[in-house]
């Protein structure tokens, strides 16, 4: 029996691996997710058959509560609220690892450092993931101050807490404080919570996606640590897979923003920048009415839509798709150029456009659209700003210099849809707005596009 359980764990791990592999292509991704969930089901069922598991009452209660909450949350969340949902789930994974470690410690199975150390790790990482994710959730929903919270001596406090955590862990593992071991354990729990809070409050709300990816990676590490606690293979493998995934996503986001991870975590980016927004210098701006924009689009042979965060704010994805279809009906070639960090989380625009039923083979990446940009008649920039800022290419002094962009300024005509001259996430000027072949279509993206659509009909 024991062996069959272990073999089933291997099967579960294989299914996780296959599932992640299939998540690599839009055509197979959904099946991949199901295969991965099948792996989870197998792991759970087989664990319930484990000889150690004898009383089911509390398990059933916990599982029912969890299933109801999880299913409801997954059902009810709006597509635009995905980032905060992921943050919350992530935090729950973290606290589960902490509770598991605590339960194992309380159960008294832990005597040697070989067991105590993984418990300490599971608790520290799990607790940090929990509170960190909650803060990230709060910042994303605007429930707490989204600006970086910085206070004097922050680094000193952090260093002191880190030292305390190391000392406590050492004392606790060595068993030299046998009388006070439980007290020390509680201190570690509390410290882990404080860590999570302190790590995330100094980071600006707009950097939360990076934080979530990183915390995702941590929740994987916590699962790994839990795996070492109960000596379970499948926890270790799955935890490592998740850990790797989170780190890669973090790296991709940092690279696309052309910032280092250290800069994201420690610099308090986004605190000062909001002040810089809404500048004026740089030349003349040429506004355009929806009616004139209609004539431009009507005459175009090829149109590229470049969506950005503004499309998410305006919830304009359905209108954009409708406009795209009208243009196609008009014989125009329509594509959507998606920048990897457009919006506020990786792949944000893809999810929104998918929701609006845009076929994923119409979506193109910057590398594919940039080389032939000169041949594009009209670029419609829908609430994007930083990701089309030519300063990233031309202006070495720009804070985003070096970040890869969609080079819409090389298209024949550009039309920018936004509400004002305000800056985007990075809080910097965009020379594109002042170019001769650029027109600004001011107003909420959704209403502007709706007007355009009515012109077409």
């Amino acid at each position: 029996m024991e062996h069959i359980v272990e073999l089933c764990y291997i099967v579960a791990a294989i299914l996780f691996i296959l599932g992640l592999k299939m998540l690599g292509s839009p055509a197979t991704a959904r099946r991949g997710n199901m295969i991965s969930s099948l792996g989870m089901l197998i792991a759970v069922v087989v664990t319930l058959c484990h000889r150690d598991v004898v009383s089911f009452q509390w398990i059933v209660i916990g599982a029912i509560i969890g299933t109801i909450i999880g299913a409801l949350a997954a059902r009810l969340v709006a597509m635009t609220a995905m980032p905060e949902m992921v943050a919350l789930f992530n935090g729950f994974g973290g606290i589960a690892s902490l509770l598991l470690g605590w339960g194992e410690f309380h159960g008294g199975g832990a005597v040697s450092w070989f067991k105590l150390l993984p418990i300490a790790f599971a608790v520290l990482i799990g607790g940090l993931t929990f509170t960190g994710s909650l803060i990230a959730y709060g910042k994303l929903t605007g429930k707490i101050e989204t600006k970086p919270v910085l206070f004097p001596g922050q680094q000193v406090v952090n260093a002191f807490l880190l030292l305390a955590a190391i000392v406590c862990t050492a004392l606790y593992c060595s068993g030299s404080a046998s009388g006070a071991q439980y007290q020390i354990f509680i201190v570690i729990v509390v410290l882990s919570f404080i860590f999570g809070v302190l790590a995330v409050i100094p980071i600006g709300g707009a950097d939360m996606p990076v934080v979530i990816a990183l915390l995702n990676s941590y929740s994987g590490l916590a699962a790994c640590a839990a795996g070492f606690v109960i000596l379970n293979n499948v926890l270790i493998v799955s935890g490592a897979l998740v850990g790797a995934s989170g780190i890669i996503l973090t790296k991709i986001m940092c690279k696309a923003m052309n910032r280092s991870l250290a800069n994201v975590l420690f610099s308090g980016f986004g605190g000062a920048t909001t002040a810089v927004g809404g500048t004026t210098e740089g030349g003349e701006v040429r506004p355009i009415t929806a009616e004139d924009a209609y004539y431009v689009l009507e005459a175009a042979g090829s149109v590229v839509f470049v969506p950005g965060y503004g499309m998410a704010v305006a919830q304009a994805q359905h209108a954009v798709r409708e406009l795209g279809e009208l243009l196609e009906g008009n014989g125009t070639e329509v594509r959507y150029a998606i920048h990897p960090v457009a919006g506020r989380m990786p792949g944000h625009m893809n999810v929104l456009l998918a929701e609006a039923n845009v076929s994923y083979d119409q979506l193109v990446e910057p590398e594919d659209v940039n080389p032939a940009m000169e041949t594009v008649d009209v670029c419609m920039i829908i609430g994007a700003n930083d990701v089309v800022n030519p300063a990233a290419r031309d202006d070495e002094s720009s804070p985003i210099y070096g970040m890869p962009i969609i080079e819409v300024d090389r298209a024949k005509t550009t039309i920018v849809l936004k509400r004002s001259m305000a800056a985007g996430f990075a809080g910097i000027d965009n020379p594109l707005f002042f170019k001769e072949n650029n027109r600004m279509l001011f107003g909420d993206a959704k209403s502007s596009i709706s007007t355009l659509i009515s012109e077409f009909k």
Binding site: F16, I17, K21, G66, A74, M79, H106
Partner: protein, 93 residues
């Protein structure tokens, strides 16, 4: 010796994770994030064992039940929300 085996497994899984994830196109990064998040709910396995063991104290059972509940939210919510997202990714002809 078991520690060595587990360490070996950890190392291989990390390498494998990097290879697998690096191939996922940016189109799918949001579902990847929530999908891998669901996988991290695998702690549920540990939670089940801690909760279901015979002769545990009440405190252990409470901790375990909470762990089961939270891990279940993570698993069920994570997979469902990912599926909801992925159901929208369609190719039209």
């Amino acid at each position: 010796m078991i520690a060595i085996f587990l360490l070996f497994i950890l190392v291989l899984a990390i390498f494998l994770g990097f290879e697998l994830i690096a191939k996922v196109p940016s189109t799918l990064h949001t579902p990847l994030m929530s999908g891998s998040n669901a996988i991290s709910g695998i702690t549920i396995v540990g939670a089940l064992i801690v909760t279901g063991r015979s002769g545990s104290e009440t405190a252990t059972i409470i901790l375990g039940t909470l762990a089961v509940a939270f891990a279940t939210i993570n698993v069920v919510g994570g997979y469902l929300v990912t599926d909801r997202m992925l159901a929208m990714f369609k190719k039209k002809y």
